[in-house]
Amino acid sequence: MSPAPATRGAVRRVLGEGRWAWSALVVLVGALISAPVVAVVVDGVLGAGDTQLPRNVGDMVFTSLWLLLGVGCGTFVLGAGLAWLVSAFDFPCRRLLSWALVLPLAMPAYILGFVFLSTFDVAGPVQSLLRDWFGADVWVPDVRSLGGAVIVMSLTLYPYVYLLARAAMVEQSATTYEAARTLGATRGRAFLRVLLPLARPSLAAGLALVMMETLTDFATVQYFNVHTVSVGVYLVWKGSFDLHSATQIAALVLVFAVALLVGERLLRGGARFTQRGHRGVGPQRERLRGFKAALASAAGLGVLGVAFVFPVLQLVVWALGASTDPLDPRLGDYLANSVTLALVVAAVCVTVATLIGHAQRLGGGRLVRSAAQLTTFGYAVPGAVVGIGVLLVMDWLDRGLVAAGVEGGTGLLVTGSVLGILIAQVVRFVAPAHQAIDASFTKMPPSITGSALSLGASPRRVLTRVHLPQVRSGILVATVLVVIDVVKELPLVLLLRPFGFTTVSVWVYQLASENFWEKAALPALLIVMLALVPVVVLVRGRDPRRRVEP
């Protein structure tokens, strides 16, 4: 064989099989979306010659690792365990739990964190009660700690894993689980050795989302005084009033993010668990009785109570306590802003993610794969850093335009309108959309695409008539995840909003940052409600018994 074909083969593996228009589109979108993140890193590297990393950066790295590990384990155990419970067993309240366990997704970690601390911290009712009973010297575990942060974040983030794991378990055919059981595997073993490995791609996707949320969280960890690398970014930024030095640590956060994404790919392990033939109905549920049934119900209801019901009640109590104040007349505006923003961002993110999935399906090659990966980094970078990146890119664009002779450049495009917020939110939240939609694409056998193409369908027709209908569930999940994320997102909106633009999350922040928690309870409840709507839509849309096949 001459060397030429080999080289050509290598080039093609990078460039893909020549759907140039589609590939170019994805590469372009990838470049646009990653631009702000890249800008921050470039700016940081170029701009910070003499700044030094904070003294305890090593501790921060370890703290971040421990936090990631803790929250990873916590969400895995809660998410996968509860998913197994509701898909493999029957017990009282199972039907309720199977959808209600998704609800904590609507609870932002910073709100649960606050409720948790105000309840369990030294001045809270629990410790006060303990002191009353046992005296001032009673020993209580330190709630304001890494452990506390792990608990709170696990409780709010586990639904990512639960949602994807449950879907994966339900979509598996009953036979594999039953085969394992007849081979003498106990229920636990069948779960560990058969259900879990088969659900691996979904679990990996869910865990990756959890990890990235954990990595970029700033508010919750600060409540708990846990100094992660993300906290470091803010510490340096605020300590030195110099973003350049902060971007160096932001780059460190990126290193974590890359490691996470690589880890996710490895976990998914190239293998595609597309089950051939029949679409599964999940394992036949086994009825639990007596003690075991009570235990199962208690586990589910307990998690739901701690993660959702109790904090919502607490917020309601606070909100009622503050109800003497007149209702803010701008409430309607704030709500409309939040909702509109969420829908627009979700529409853009889902479109981008679908196009990426489609282009990859058409044989995009490594270039498209890399572009797809690039779009996901925004999620792993703290919101404020993405915001600064957007400002940077616009700044450069401005100067470029002025240099090219355009008077005034882009004008005040970014912070003078919501455009900046929109761009930044898309940069941040393409990742969850991509995860959900990509998982759906992965479940669709490649032969479907091949068949459609060889029947003469153009790539566009394959997209609309074959791919879209089949990744519908992924699109639904993606929409919900993005909507929830946007409604909860704070730093970006805070940084980039134009005058007169306030969302519900900003409102909560303004009140909460000065500890007006009773006043903040109402808008906080509103965030939960807003996030609840898509969660309920999702739950109903995904209930396998209600779904019309497929």
């Binding site: 904070p54 305890n56 030294v122 001045a123 304001r144 805070l494 940084l495 500890n515």
Partner: protein
Amino acid sequence: MRRSLLAASLAVVSVATSACGIFEDDEPADIQVYSARHYDLEKAFEEFTEETDLTVEFLFGDDSELLERLKKEGDDSPADIFMTVDAGNLWNAAEQGQLTALDSPILTEAIPEDLRDPDGQWFGFAMRARTVVYNPDSVDVAEFDTTDTYAGLGDPKWSGRLCMRDATASYTQSLVASLIDLHGRDRALEIVESWVANDVEIMSNDIELLEAIDAGACEVGISNHYYLGRKLDEDPDFNAKVFWASQDGEGVHVNISGAGVTRSSDNPEAAQQLLEWLAAKGQSAFVDNNFEFPVNPDVAPAELVAGFGPFERMPVDAKAYGSLNAEAVDLLAEANYE
């Protein structure tokens, strides 16, 4: 399926268009303020608008993020005034060329020299004291070191009795910066290390810290005085008292909330007018709402905080707070102060 796709795309289009509608800004206000204060300021400014017919609009945010935004927006920035809560922040904004020098006799007259920029780029309008707060049931005021109360909290007798704010709080950083300024880095490090050695309990906000003192979970803490004002306003029986720190020494550590007119302001006259109003006529309305102390010596503080008694204050050294902040952060890390 096709129909639902159609419906979805219609929805997207209509949402997008309505978004443009909603997001279209109305006529901008006469004076636009980037503010890191979020204490329900509007009430004070409503009075200003009534008096002058000049409208004021706020954009709240985090101080360093707002500063970064101001820098990135450059000449296009809509902001006329940059308002923030730390003298170091103001000094930095001036240092980074974001503010304009004002020549205003009204301002220089109303505001003490150390609470404003010598070049007139920024001015303090409200003052807060970061002092010691204690639970009177478990602490005798005689226990405090009256010369250097902050350093005195490192005495082993306070072991297990202390609560303080976290290292990420700008309040903590400014206090430590002032200690570095006052005593030099080595002594400041010793002081912070002695707090850590006393097993200080770290809280994530001042209100929680005060509630811990009230509940008896902590005996002594360091807090901004106005948080206690707020708590006492809600509940007169709140069981915590102010002790003015270092009265026989350098005085209590204070910081300011201040503002300057931005470099890019397209309405500097109106902005200056607002600042002058804040320093004089609007001073009470501005500070009392948040139980802060007025900077203008001719204006009396609110009754509740006046009840904390008179005190000597440390001079504010904005340059020190601003330039030593990074060192303070580093020192806190070195002392393992969380």
